[in-house]
Subunit: 243 residues, 2 copies
């Protein structure tokens, strides 16, 4: 019989607030360069540089800050003052120090799912920063495994599921990113619960997930996740019986 | 009977060249700021800032580059030009792209040890960069586990050994850093083979390891590692028989 055995949770903007802080840093970046140039495409130019640098820097605050230094120099045609570039390093330090703030209802939702399923945390980004947030979040003990990875694509999920000794059809992933949490797990034959966040980095919205995809549910908030997991578990059992 | 069951290898400056590249980047940093100030303590001032930032940035190229931007601004009293600060981002990109160059004799030494022992790779630093180097090094398939950690202290080794289901007295670590590879493993009751590298970052030399510590051997080059591992294995068995 097929049943959902394991539930994975994304961390940034699924368990705790993250993109708000990046967004605030980006607004501050825009204010800094606005002292030199009057352009309306600063955000797009920054994103173009960030995206080009991902292959080298990976995800996370430090890579973002280095891309911001590069973007600020390019956008201002190198007229930006050293003190303003130094402020970008300060933005990175602030981001790395902000306290972990769980999203509403997350603690109860994770505890509820953990009562019925093995749960794992799968997050991407900077190892050092993610470890700090996991330590500080107060939920770490609930997770059977905590996996910090450099990219969340089908190859990564396939490797992790093999390590977990769990088949994709027995695995459900909860997260806010279609690109990183939902699309690769569905592609492998697993289940997804998409919990959109009010802010999403452009990069994470770039994904091919058909609306109404099988094995995918969309919920509005963490409090609805336990019921959605139970619904998926029932659907998984029904599929197994029918086949 | 006690026997050595598992051998861990450090990566940077144990398997492949790393500090040379950091050292070259630091020399370039010194040349950049020398255009603004005539000081003989630039390296010490950079290290002071890097060390203060480790708690926030962790190890690796990106944190180094952000510390360099901060140090350059401070050292030049913010007189440094944006183009020169941009060159520091370029130094980081160069470091992240350099090809993996195995040290002489490493391939044969690792293969020889792998014939008799389970071997694991334990490296600290930036997840994204270390994964890239592991992928590129051509030795990854020999290792039973590859662990990229944010800090190599006794707590980390204790956690890993529990995951490996290996007691400390059955574990030997090979590495170039007394602080990160040798001292914590000896402290737990394990074995160490120190292979000093001709360049060592100041940070990694800060360790308390008594000269002539039991269970520690020092060898000059990778080619001597397999014999040293065998010698440790014999000593471990002898200890077990005597006790």
């Amino acid at each position: 019989m097929t049943r959902i055995r394991m539930v994975g949770f994304d961390a940034d903007d699924t368990l705790w607030r993250s993109e708000d802080y990046f967004h605030a840093a980006q607004s501050e970046f825009e204010r800094i360069v606005a002292g030199y140039v009057d352009l309306d495409d600063v955000a797009a130019r920054l994103y173009a540089i960030e995206k080009a640098n991902i292959a080298l820097f990976g995800y996370g605050v430090k890579g973002m800050a280095l891309s911001m230094v590069e973007a600020a120099v390019q956008i201002t045609d190198a007229r930006i003052h050293a003190r303003d570039l130094h402020r970008i390093v300060g933005l990175a330090k602030d981001l790395l120090q902000h306290p972990v703030e769980l999203l509403p209802g997350v603690r109860e939702a994770v505890e509820a799912v953990a009562r019925d399923f093995d749960i794992v945390l799968i997050t991407k980004g900077d190892l050092f920063h993610q470890e700090k947030k996991v330590r500080d979040c107060g939920l770490a003990d609930l997770f059977r495994r905590i996996e910090i990875v450099s990219e969340k694509d089908t190859a990564t999920y396939a490797r992790l599921l093999e390590e977990f000794d769990c088949e994709a059809r027995e695995f459900l992933m909860v997260g806010n990113s279609l690109r990183s949490d939902i699309a690769p797990v569905l592609a492998l034959g697993g289940w997804g619960i998409h919990v959109p966040y009010h802010l999403t980095w452009t990069h994470e919205t770039e994904a091919d997930v058909a609306e109404g995809a099988p094995r995918l549910q969309v919920v509005e908030r963490a409090g609805q996740v336990p019921d959605a997991v139970r619904a998926a578990a029932r659907a998984a059992s029904a599929t197994a019986r029918a086949s």
